[in-house]
């Protein structure tokens, strides 16, 4: 396992080297140079799980703006979303901005009607089917089945997520990870509670448990398990560090197994600093960085897809509104009831 190579990519790549990677297309993506200097102080709740890559973006923004102070509270995305809701009920507001690794957690907060509407020109930068009123998807990620290529061929993997547990493969998962929980929410909405609970029970009885989905992918690569459940970028990142890894991606068809989810940002305070800070995340520099270094799918028009991901046309994600993924509580209750959590 080349954890070292992840670290290298993390530590050496700031924002600057990536500027040249932006697509030359004549889109209206703005550059950091066009943004006003940030002045003031912001509290950000940052959903953990992306290693140091989001941290690098934030550090680069802070470095560029010496008069700007960013206070960060880090925690698992679901915990922070819950904390924001609990704080609201207690009459406390600590966070100005919430950057979640998962749209479900965003939805949980949006449902409380405490997210501030965002300037329309910010919203219109996004690809048309990713435009919402009071939150912005920052980058996309696809649910995938990373598999060990020395253990099985892609043709052996079923195209239906629901039938996967019946095939007798050794499976690896990270049920505590927010993106996984959103995937289960999608499964509940698409296949119903009963089928989902059967599926969870089957997987739970045999699957190997990991702390996070990077761990899942590493477990697949080590051959500890045949197939895992993970967001696409973990596999791409691992393969970027270790091109000969016995690892590849499989996609299911039209079900929750290939859900396209998004990390997202919302504002709990409405002011110029907050809006300009959010603007930074949608510049071509940051979006290209997230695509080329984090292997995330840029959702701003005119930025290239990461290497190694099949064109979005070849993937058939389920038809589901991302904000519906906020229906997280029943998912957690179900997982708890089945002793998965």
């Amino acid at each position: 396992m080349r954890r070292r190579d992840f670290n290298k990519a993390l530590l050496t790549c700031g924002l600057t080297p990536c500027i040249g990677l932006a697509q030359d297309s004549d889109s209206n993506v703005i550059s950091v140079d066009e943004l006003p200097e940030l002045v003031g102080e912001i509290s950000l709740y940052l959903g953990r799980g992306e290693g140091g890559l989001y941290e690098n973006v934030l550090k680069a923004i802070s470095d560029r703006n010496p008069k700007f102070k960013l206070n960060i509270r880090r925690g698992p995305t679901a915990a922070l979303a819950n904390a924001i809701v609990a704080e609201k009920e207690a009459g406390i507001r600590r966070a100005d901005v919430f950057w979640a690794v998962d749209a479900g957690a965003i939805g949980l907060v949006v449902d409380q009607e405490i997210a501030e509407p965002l300037p329309s020109e910010l919203v219109s930068q996004l690809r048309p089917n990713y435009r919402y009123r009071n939150w912005l998807p920052v980058s996309g990620r696809i649910r995938t089945l990373p598999f060990n290529t020395s253990a099985l061929g892609i043709e052996q993997i079923p195209q239906s997520i629901m039938s996967l547990p019946d095939e007798g493969f050794k499976l690896g998962w990270a049920p505590e990870y927010a993106s996984f929980q959103s995937f289960i929410t999608a499964m509940r909405l698409l296949a119903g509670n009963e089928a989902t609970s059967d599926w969870l029970l089957k997987v739970n009885s045999s699957a190997k448990r990991y702390a996070g989905e990077l761990g899942v992918v590493m477990g697949v690569e080590r051959g500890e398990v045949d197939i895992g459940f993970a967001n696409h970028y973990y596999t791409l990142r691992l393969k970027a560090g270790k091109p000969d890894a016995m690892l590849d991606l499989a996609f299911t068809k039209g079900d929750s197994g290939c859900l396209v989810n998004a990390s997202g940002i919302l504002a709990l305070t409405s002011n110029k600093t907050v809006h300009n800070f959010i603007r930074y995340l949608f510049t071509k520099e940051v979006q290209s960085y997230l695509s080329s270094e984090a292997f995330e799918i840029p959702l701003v028009d005119g930025i290239a897809l990461p290497r190694g991901i099949p064109s979005l046309d070849l993937i058939s994600p389920p038809a589901i509104d991302l904000t519906q993924l906020s229906d997280l509580r029943p998912t957690l209750d179900l997982m708890r009831e089945l002793r998965v959590l």
Partner: protein
């Protein structure tokens, strides 16, 4: 008179505060009686397996080491003992970190060595790592009781024709049994409260389950699990207080000389334990450090860790004085002191969850240093109190009585006689509190104000991100501070003797 009243009121306030987390948990659990939450068998069973497995394995390591370092006549014995106590300076989550990443297929050792070592994870991994860092408890208690062993008993047995093993079974074992049990119970208490090790190695015990519930802000569920855990801990605490050993000085100390084979075996055992628990993690962290360089940790993180621990240590030293003074005065004071010991039995993750809830009820203190330091104070105050109270109890009253005869007022007696006499114990208690605070993980993780990062929470973030190698610098810093503080406490104790 006035001083005494002030001390008494401080003791009362601290004792009342110590009840706060327990009351909060009870209130939270009762709040949702509608959905009665049954015992989660899997978590209960896992916890019991981890705790008893750790206690057993720590005893299997600690008892032979205690015998080797006490009744056998070995060159360099003092130094060996010092090395064997080193794991006390390493929080077990740091060991868990190193073992988790270095062992198993694709781990650090797999790359360095021609063979693939087995992976260290899950329940067995947790037991293994916890035992490696807790055996000194058993070693110390057992050694203390062996040092009271009279060699005349052994000579008598020999005269009656007993061989070594018979002596071992009939003379030595019965003598140390109580002490081993006492040490094993300390191990059990550590194992049951520890959060980092089972969380990193993926053993689903109470502390980990409480953290998962907290993350989903399932306060009632977290409170429910916390109370179950607290009940189990109370049982252990009661057992532990019963396992105290009566001490008698021997008329003749035991010193058995070993043949060269015996010596080799003894050194081999001692060496392999020191290697696995201390040297191996240091090697692994050095490999990482060498590869990555001094990266990752910001100076601010180090300053945060040091300043918050220092503030806590000073506060604990100051509060421990009135609590222990009151405790040695009368029965009520003694009872108040006992109440302040509650916090020591409450695991950090439980304390953290309870205080987040308290903060939400009183917004001005939510996510503030006030709550964080209060949590530290309640958790670690007993370290300061027991250090000072032991000194006070061992103190000769004649000086104070003489002063009283001369008509010295109470305040002056305290400042001119008592305080100078207990000053070293105060510092020793403060140093211990500093040591515990700087490596505290779960309460800091949950209660730290926004933007506040310590060495311990940084390590946790690195773990969650999967970038293990970045943990080398904070790991070395925490170990370094721990060793330093231990040396200071040990020297202080020597001076005060």
């Amino acid at each position: 008179m006035k001083l005494r009243a002030t001390f008494f009121s401080i003791s009362t306030v601290v004792a009342a505060l110590s009840l706060l987390p327990v009351i909060t948990l009870l209130a939270l659990a009762v709040e949702q009686m509608g959905s009665v939450y049954f015992l989660r068998h899997e978590i209960f069973v896992n916890t019991i397996i981890v705790v008893s497995g750790t206690a057993l394995m720590a005893s299997l390591i600690g008892v032979p080491l205690a015998i080797i370092t006490s009744i056998f006549d070995l060159p360099l014995k003092k130094m060996l003992l010092a090395c064997l106590l080193m794991p006390l300076a390493v929080p077990s989550y740091i060991g868990a970190f190193a073992f988790y990443d270095a062992f198993g297929t694709g781990g650090e050792l797999d790359r360095l060595l021609p063979i693939t070592p087995p992976s260290v994870e899950g329940i067995t991994g947790t037991i293994f790592v916890l035992a490696l860092y807790t055996y000194p408890f058993v070693l110390l208690t057992t050694r203390a009781s062996l040092s009271g062993l009279d060699s005349n008993q052994i000579f008598a047995a020999r005269t009656l024709g007993s061989g070594f093993f018979e002596i071992f079974l009939k003379v030595i074992i019965p003598r140390v049994l109580n002490a081993v049990a006492g040490g094993a119970l300390l191990v059990a208490l550590y194992a049951i409260s520890d959060f980092g090790t089972p969380a990193i190695l993926g053993a689903n015990t109470y502390t980990r389950a409480i953290f998962v519930e907290y993350n989903a802000l399932g306060f009632s569920q977290a409170a429910n699990l916390s109370i179950q855990l607290f009940v189990i801990i109370s049982v252990f605490l009661v057992l532990e207080s019963r396992a105290r050993v009566a001490k008698a000085l021997p008329s003749q100390f035991v010193a058995i000389s070993l043949g060269s084979v015996g010596k080799c075996l003894a050194y081999l055992l001692v060496g392999s334990i020191i290697f696995t628990s201390t040297v191996l993690p240091v090697i692994i962290f050095s490999v990482w450090l060498n590869r990555e360089g001094f990266v990752g940790v910001e100076l601010l993180t180090v300053l945060n860790s040091v300043s918050v621990s220092f503030a806590t240590a000073v506060l604990i030293a100051l509060v421990a004085i009135p609590v222990s003074m009151t405790a040695t005065r009368d029965r009520l004071g003694k009872a108040l002191e006992k109440v302040t010991y509650l916090g020591f039995g409450i695991p950090g993750i439980v304390m953290g969850t309870a205080f987040i809830y308290v903060g939400l009820q009183f917004p001005p203190i939510y996510q503030t240093f006030f709550l964080l330091i209060l949590a530290y104070l309640l958790r670690f105050l007993p370290l300061g109190v027991s250090s000072i109270r032991n000194k006070l109890e061992a103190q000769d009253d004649s000086l104070i009585n003489a002063a009283k005869c001369l008509g010295t007022p109470d305040n002056e007696i305290f400042f001119r006689i008592t305080l100078p006499l207990i000053s070293k114990a105060i510092i020793a208690g403060g140093v211990l509190a500093f040591l515990e605070t700087i490596r505290e993980l779960p309460a800091t993780l949950v209660l730290g104000p926004i933007g506040f990062e310590t060495l311990a929470t940084y390590m946790w973030r690195v773990y969650e991100g999967g970038y293990f190698a970045l943990a080398a610098v904070p790991a070395f810093l925490i170990m370094g501070v721990s060793v330093l503080s231990l040396v200071v406490t040990l020297t202080m104790e020597d001076f005060s003797r």
